[in-house]
């Protein structure tokens, strides 16, 4: 297993390099001169030339790419912000905890509420309760989260006045953002859990479990659910990975200085080094989370695990030969 984890981490390196090259290339073609952004339009030609020289902007694409990759992978540096002149990496690091709180609680809430709802719908499939809850969750999936956020602000902050509408001065400031973020997640997880469970619940091994005398509760939670978890974990992992990179829209609405807000500010300020750094950072965290999701699969499903462990692979093959003989 540890061999497999190592292999997966090694396989991730070329992808991360690819991501870096892609982003660097994209940013290379952004119209507009970064020096102009740094110095403002009033700078003299001589000043512009000196800064160009300093930043190495006179070099051809391939050399700049090389030094960028060297900086990134050997020194772990995302470079400096054009506008503020600060280190992009350090800025992202200070913002990370806020984004983490938002992402972590949103995904936990989505799973804790969504999975039981989906299971209940699946075990009562086609009942009135199921139909209503699936329609409501479809509305939840279709609701733009920024609009939901505004509606929550309107109700809880402006009308009732029980929760703050923006900022990040304490945990109560995160309640509305987490809710706005999680409701869509709850709805999505519930729908996926339902369809995944419906597929599994008709499997023969579920009948086998019933025939053994397993209680209905254990049939659902111990026999069916683990087999239905793979797509659910994929979805939650994807959501969590995406949100770790900043819930761009939510952070904007609630003025939470997280990573998503930084990205949007940088785009608006045409601070392309900061854009490049934050996009890279987000892609990296996303990749790491997706890797973790893959590893979780292996713990849940021995068939997936077997694909990664050499010796049992041979054994499966042997088994297949036997079955075919």
């Amino acid at each position: 297993m540890s061999k497999y984890i190592l292999k997966r981490i090694l396989l991730m390196i070329p992808i991360l390099v690819g991501v870096a090259i892609l982003i660097f290339t994209l940013m290379f073609f952004v119209p507009g001169d970064p020096v102009e952004i740094i110095l403002g339009s009033s700078a003299t030609q001589a000043q512009v030339e000196t800064v160009r020289e300093q930043l190495g902007l006179n070099q051809p694409y391939i050399i700049r790419l090389g030094s960028f990759l060297q900086q990134l992978f050997l020194h772990g540096s995302f470079g400096n912000s054009y506008v503020q002149g600060t280190d992009v990496g350090a800025e992202l690091l200070t913002r990370f905890p806020r984004t983490l709180i938002l992402a972590l609680f949103s995904i936990l809430l989505s799973m804790v509420v969504g999975i039981p709802l989906g299971i209940r719908a699946a075990t009562h499939a086609n009942s009135a309760e199921d139909r209503i809850s699936m329609f409501v969750s479809m509305i939840g999936v279709s609701m733009p989260n920024f609009w939901l956020a505004l509606m929550l602000v309107l109700l809880f902050a402006l009308k009732l006045g029980i929760l703050p509408s923006s900022g990040d001065k304490g945990f109560e400031y995160y309640i509305l953002p987490i809710l706005a973020n999680a409701l869509g997640g709850i709805a999505g997880v519930a729908r996926l859990t339902r369809s995944s469970m419906l597929e599994v619940i008709r499997a023969d091994y579920v009948s086998t479990a019933r025939a053994k005398g397993v209680s209905e509760h254990d049939v659902i939670y111990k026999h069916a659910l683990p087999n239905a978890m793979i797509p659910i974990i994929t979805m939650c992992g994807g959501r969590f990975g995406g949100q770790l990179g900043g819930t761009v829209v939510i952070e904007t609405v609630f003025s939470i200085p997280g990573i998503g807000a930084y990205l949007i500010n940088s785009i608006n300020n045409r601070d392309y080094n900061a854009v490049q750094g934050s996009v890279l950072y987000i892609a990296f965290t996303f990749s790491v989370v997706m890797l973790l999701v893959d590893l979780i699969y292996a713990f849940i499903d021995p068939r997936i695990k077997a694909q990664y462990e050499g010796h049992s692979k041979k054994r499966i093959k042997r088994g297949e030969v036997k079955a075919d003989a």
Partner: protein, 327 residues
């Protein structure tokens, strides 16, 4: 009073079982009034084509019909003097896997892919005895050895076993709690011919050893010949012929049973061609009136198509649902 004494003669007595499903707005009449008896230590074969309702009978006895699509399920199942159709679900759950257990048709899908085989056997053991985890695992390993799987492989997962091995695991699981009644639903259909014989032999041997009664569900008359004492031929959800194995094999009375034997390739038969039963089994959502075999029956006349046909005694203990019988 008379009824009770009559019932008590048999270890298992199924009476007037009806199972109907609902599917896309239509009612599927899967089982239409099936009755049969089974004595302790004996084996009854339920023989019939795919879709005749055999598996529904088995699942109805186990009371594991799917909730969401089952429309109606009625009848009486007396097991050891107790009507298991009317006891509460909680009581029934204690019987399942303990007093009566079931082997499923397709070993490839009958085992939970995310649990080790020993875990799955041990689960049944723990549910029906007060043994602890260690004892249950010990029992599971013993059962695996009993069905010819080395205990070293106990912690492996279903995907690491071949089809025949999986079926052995399923059998070990079904027998782990010494059931009094074993329902084997086409236990060998999904297996290779060479493995089939091994598995059948093993089921027979274990059954003898544990003195278990068995319902053998199959479409294979060869399997019936090897394992059964009595036979019920099922067609369109009804028993159409019922009797001792010898009666059915030597003196088949119903045109369908006769057709089944004619369709069987034999080593010593001189005829070159097999004679198939013409036509298809009836649509269970739209059964024909009268005898449900009449559309395919070479002997059928208007009387056959008019009213439902009852069971008629041919010889004592050998009954048949045909106006023309014995042919």
């Amino acid at each position: 009073m008379k009824n009770i004494t009559e019932e008590s003669k048999h270890f298992l007595s199924v009476q007037d079982m009806v199972v109907q499903y609902r599917s896309e707005g239509k009612v599927v009449m899967a089982v239409n009034g099936v009755s049969f008896d089974l004595d302790k230590g004996k084996t009854i074969g339920l023989v019939g084509e795919t879709g005749a309702g055999k598996t529904s009978i088995a699942k109805a006895i186990m009371r594991i019909l799917p909730d969401h699509s089952t429309y109606q399920n009625s009848g009486k199942v007396m097991l050891d003097q107790e009507d298991i159709m009317s006891i509460p679900e909680q009581e029934m759950r204690k019987l399942r896997g303990h007093k009566l257990s079931m082997i499923f048709q397709d070993p490839m899908t009958a085992l939970n892919p995310v649990k080790s085989v020993a875990e799955q056997i041990a689960e049944a053991v723990r549910l029906h005895s007060d043994s602890n985890k260690v004892q249950a695992m010990k029992r599971a390993k013993d059962m695996l050895e009993l069905v010819g799987i080395s205990a070293d492989r106990a912690n492996e997962y279903p995907h690491q076993f071949s089809g025949g091995m999986k079926q052995r695991v399923v059998i070990a699981m079904a027998l782990a709690c010494d059931p009094m009644l074993l329902i084997a639903d086409e236990p060998t259909t999904a297996l290779d011919v060479t493995i089939q014989a091994q598995v059948l032999e093993m089921i027979n041997a274990l059954k003898e050893k544990l003195n278990t009664s068995m319902i053998m569900i199959t479409h294979d008359l060869g399997v019936v010949a090897e394992t059964c004492d009595t036979v019920a031929v099922i067609y369109a959800g009804q028993v159409i012929e019922y009797g001792a194995k010898e009666d059915i094999f030597d003196r088949p009375a119903h045109p369908y049973t006769v057709g089944l034997f004619k369709a069987l390739p034999g080593m010593n038969k001189s005829s070159r061609r097999l004679s198939p039963i013409v036509g298809m089994p009836p649509d269970p959502t739209d059964l024909p009136s009268g005898c449900s075999f009449s559309p395919r029956c070479p002997y059928a006349d208007d009387a056959c198509k008019r009213d439902a046909v009852g069971m008629q005694e041919i010889t004592p203990g050998h009954t048949c649902r045909c106006l023309k019988a014995p042919l």
